[in-house]
């Protein structure tokens, strides 16, 4: 891995060790991209000396959505309902605007059942770092295609996907999201950099992270699938057998592209934005996404940035003090006020 681990015992600015940012042991499959992302969150939370009690972790339902249990044990968290995390995030951040909300969702969670909530959250500019752990399948329900799966993709269990993918970054851009980025779970350097940037953004920050599912990407047609898959093709028709895999990692420079072999032997092309790219040009961002889509590449990096829009608590003109901290006398009007009103109704 490219990131250097600091010595175990060191502490950050607020005196916490790296271990203080850990979660419970992951129950995901070995090698799952989602675990890498959790590791990145732990890492940047430590680096940035985030105060755990000030962070909330939010998710929907899915393998990806399980991960908030696997980082930041000292932060409040919830697994919400499938596809409906955005609304809970909206409520929670209105209730307490001081909290840093980190949301983790899957492509099924966000792109299928949750698409409406996602887009309306973006529109409202709810202050949340919204991470999509995008593997193109429903991991937890065993490998059906999600709405981000590529057209023409063939999976052993799910068959052929004949529908075009929904590009969640593109959706975010055209609906006014002020921070839209894409990365790859196995690129720790970039994921961490983007996470740090996202955390400093005021409104909704969307991070679409390609995060391979090691269990349900066994493409039987692929000429380069793992040898066990080839040799024991029939054997793996036993649904309950999930081989252990190694995590895929990459490290490549800005402005270059790299081709990654996935667990199923297929390839995806990642293209990192170079330093000259201007992420504040909305129109350029749209073009970029559309052409990448045509070329079947994934553009990685910060795709669009617009710090101009007020976030929802600002739009709602909420006081600086979080609503949940207002004392009773601020939220229950006086006896006199009621009496006056009553008199006006007599």
């Amino acid at each position: 891995m490219a990131i250097q681990e600091p010595p175990a015992q060191s502490t950050n600015l607020i005196g916490l060790t790296r271990a203080d940012y850990k979660g419970r042991p992951s129950t995901l499959c070995k090698g799952c991209g989602h675990d890498s992302i959790s590791a990145r969150i732990i890492s940047i939370a430590y680096d940035l000396s985030l105060k755990p009690s000030n962070v909330i972790k939010l998710s929907g339902i899915g393998c990806s959505s399980k991960t908030p249990a696997y980082f930041l044990n000292q932060s409040h968290g919830f697994n919400g309902l499938h596809g409906r995390m955005p609304s809970m995030a909206t409520g929670a951040t209105l209730a307490n605007r001081d909290l840093l909300a980190i949301g983790v969702s899957g492509d099924g969670d966000t792109g299928s059942i949750g698409l409406g909530q996602f887009m309306h959250m973006v529109r409202r500019n709810v202050p949340v770092v919204y991470i999509i752990e995008n593997n193109g399948v429903y991991g937890l329900t065993k490998g059906q295609f999600s709405a981000t799966a590529d057209e023409g993709q063939q999976l052993k269990y799910a068959g052929l996907n004949e529908l075009p993918p929904i590009d969640l970054c593109h959706e975010a851009v055209i609906n006014g999201c002020g921070f839209v980025a894409r990365s790859f779970a196995g690129d720790p350097r970039q994921v961490e950099a983007l996470l740090k940037a996202a955390i400093s953004h005021r409104g909704t920050a969307v991070l679409d992270i390609i995060s391979p599912c090691v269990s349900f990407n066994d493409n039987e047609d692929s000429t380069k699938s793992y040898s066990w898959g080839k040799q024991h093709e029939e054997v793996i028709s036993d649904f309950t057998f999930i081989p252990f895999r190694e995590e895929i990692t990459v490290d490549y420079e800005e402005g270059t592209s790299t081709i990654v072999e996935m667990h199923d032997g297929s390839h995806i092309k990642l293209k990192k934005l170079d330093n000259n790219y201007d992420p504040t040009d909305k129109y350029a961002a749209m073009r970029l996404l559309e052409t990448a889509h045509e070329k079947q590449e994934f553009i990685t990096g910060l795709i669009y940035l617009n710090e101009g829009r007020p976030s929802l608590p600002e739009l709602e003109k909420l006081p600086e003090t979080p609503l949940v901290r207002l004392p009773e006398e601020k939220i229950r009007p006086s006896r006199e006020a009621l009496d006056a009103l009553m008199r006006s109704m007599m």
Partner: protein, 610 residues
């Protein structure tokens, strides 16, 4: 359809509506919606109210914006009854489309007022016809062509003022009140009223027995609708986050919430001490409420049947994760889209069991304006105390119609924020288990996100969890958790609002009702008493029921459960809550979109008793 088409079902009857006369009659104004008759109707109602005569007003309106028939009925009742009455003595027929049916529905001996321009055949010898040149007078008012249908309504206000002997000053005061003292519209409208009074004086000879006389029954009372009352209660209950999606008849609750909050809940820096979000649908609305409740806010939503259906999954989530939330259901006719502008009490069964798996939700059943207000704040106290969603089951009749009420009492108790641990508590305790039943009431302690303590955090999930809030698939832990939730449900019985009980010496039978069925039951009891049938009465105010209710049922052999739905939903619930009384409970249920009348209730009970 006309207002009177409901009478089609009326059987030959022992029970009659109370005889009409001075301060005792019902006026129905039949107009076209979008024509602005509400100003006229409110004005009349308010003038009667100010004359000290008990009144109530009901709007029966179509589910569209403009051009369809609408009826507003004003009941004046010297005895103080406020239920819907089946008889209309005075019908103002301003809608050509429904005129024939509207006039056919006037009670024998009654009155009809209609525009001279219609050139009606006055062919019912048993009623009195008065006609006014409504269209001409609207024209003469000087109002623009567009405004004329609106102004025309003021003509009947004037005519009735003269015919019934309403005090003109009270009409003027009502107009002033309606237009917040703005002189221009007051003058425009009152000009028409005055012209109509003058016309009536000069051209119409009164030939009917209906009139009003100043009384003294309303001193200190207010007039309001339940949605405003509920909104006001919520403002005083310290709501901080409201999320909603427009739906009739619940929208006006949030409109009122907006209005009151703008007035009462802005801080010294001009900042709102609340947020009201129009969500993209009801799933999002409840999601926002649950998120806010989880984060420690007093959060609420308001909706109606279709919205409740959409909230099912989240309601189950909040129940199982034990997150406070307040959900107003302003019930309208279902199933499905049903009749958005008609009342029913048809969501009771669903709300009580809302959610898949084993769920039983907390429901409040307000039955008056004061209770709508009270539920506004007590719902939060209960939701936070019990850490669970609280449903307030109001309905269109309570919510959108006009009712007299005692002024609302300021909440005497400080807010009950329930079992919340602060950082100091955690220091003292050295930690906590989110779902541990420390106190034996089934309720665990929670912490609010942002609590500055390393042991404050816990993880909320709709999946199986143990008392440490960790994921578990262990059978024993699953059962323990459900058993604790059942304990909490039983504990809730001890703190729910108790039923209002009126036991009559010598009564052999009893009535159970709730919500907007109450006014009808009140009147029915007096009608039954007049026939020599004594009844005791229990008005429910909550589910689950308290022990008082069971004890009450112990004492009567026949208990009529009166409600405004088709399947007798509350009766079904009670039969399974109290199997030992199952055969005592007899369902008196009707569901035609209109509020239950005293006559129908009394008649139905009488038939079963005979």
């Amino acid at each position: 359809m006309s207002i009177t088409s409901v009478q089609r079902g009326v059987r030959p009857t022992d029970i009659e509506d109370s005889p009409a006369g001075v301060n005792n009659f019902t006026i129905v104004a039949a107009t076209v919606n979008g024509s602005g008759s509400q100003t006229a109707n409110n004005c009349l109602l308010r003038a009667l109210f100010k004359m000290g005569i008990p009144v109530s007003g009901k709007n029966i309106f179509p589910s569209n914006i403009q051009g369809l028939p609408t009826w507003f009925s004003i009941r004046a009742s010297k005895d103080g009854f406020t239920a819907r009455r089946e008889t209309a003595e005075i019908v103002v027929a301003l809608n050509r489309q429904t005129a024939a049916e509207d006039i056919a529905g006037v009670a024998p001996g009654g009155v009809v007022i209609y525009p001279t321009e219609w050139k009606l055949n006055e062919d019912r010898p048993d009623i009195t016809y008065y006609s006014l040149p409504v269209q001409q007078m609207a024209k003469d008012s000087g109002a623009s062509t567009e405004m004329r249908p609106y102004v025309a309504n003021m003509v009947y206000v004037g005519a009735l003022t003269e015919l019934l002997g309403i005090e003109v000053e009270e009409i003027k005061a009502a107009l002033s009140d309606h237009f917040h003292g703005k002189q221009k519209p007051i003058d425009l409208n009152f000009g028409v009223v005055q012209a109509a009074i003058d016309y009536t004086k000069q051209n119409i000879t009164k030939r009917d027995p209906f009139r009003v006389e100043r009384m003294n029954a309303n001193t200190g009372k207010i007039i309001i609708n339940g949605n405003s009352a509920g909104a006001l209660g919520s403002v005083f209950g310290g709501f901080t986050v409201a999320a909603w999606y427009p739906i009739t008849p619940s929208t006006s609750l949030v409109d009122a919430l907006n209005d009151y909050a703008k007035k009462l809940r802005v801080d010294e820096n001009g900042k709102a001490t609340y947020a009201i979000i129009q969500a993209e649908d009801e799933i999002a609305a409840i999601g926002m409420v649950v998120g806010a409740g989880w984060a420690g806010a007093r959060a609420m939503t308001s909706t109606s049947g279709p919205g409740i259906s959409l909230m099912t999954e989240y309601a189950g989530y909040a129940y199982f994760t034990e997150i406070p939330a307040v959900i107003w259901d302003i019930m309208r006719m279902g199933p499905s889209t049903g009749l958005p502008t008609r009342v029913s009490q048809g969501d009771v069964l669903m709300a009580y069991y809302l959610g898949h798996g084993d769920t039983r939700q907390i429901c409040l059943l307000p039955g008056s304006m004061e209770e709508c207000f009270e539920c506004g704040w007590t719902a939060f106290d209960l939701a936070e105390r019990l850490q669970t969603p609280v449903f307030v089951l109001s309905d269109l009749d309570l919510g959108m119609n006009l009712w007299m009420s005692q002024p609302f009492a300021y909440p005497e108790k400080p807010m009950d924020r329930g079992k919340v641990l602060s950082a100091e508590d955690l220091n003292r305790l050295g930690g906590f288990h989110r779902y541990e039943d420390v106190d034996g009431d089934g309720i665990g302690y929670r912490t609010i996100p942002g609590t500055d303590h390393p042991l404050a955090a816990y993880f909320t999930r709709g999946s199986g969890h143990n008392k440490e809030a960790q994921y578990t698939e262990r059978p024993d832990e699953w059962e323990e958790n459900l058993a604790r939730l059942a304990r909490k449900h039983e504990f809730a019985r001890t703190i729910m609002p108790k039923p209002v009980i009126d036991e009559v010496a010598g009564a052999e039978i009893a009535i159970i009702a709730y919500g907007s069925s109450d006014p009808g039951v009140v009147e029915a009891r007096s009608m039954l008493a007049a026939k020599g049938v004594k009844t005791s009465y229990l008005r429910m105010r909550a589910l689950p029921t308290t022990k008082e209710q069971r004890e009450f049922a112990d004492r009567y052999q026949r208990i009529y459960v009166v409600e405004n739905n088709f399947d007798g939903q509350m009766c079904r619930i009670l039969q399974s809550e109290e199997p030992e009384h199952a055969t005592r409970f007899r369902s008196i249920a009707k569901c035609d979109g209109l509020p239950l009348t005293g006559r129908w209730i009394a008649q139905s009970i009488l038939e079963q008793e005979q």
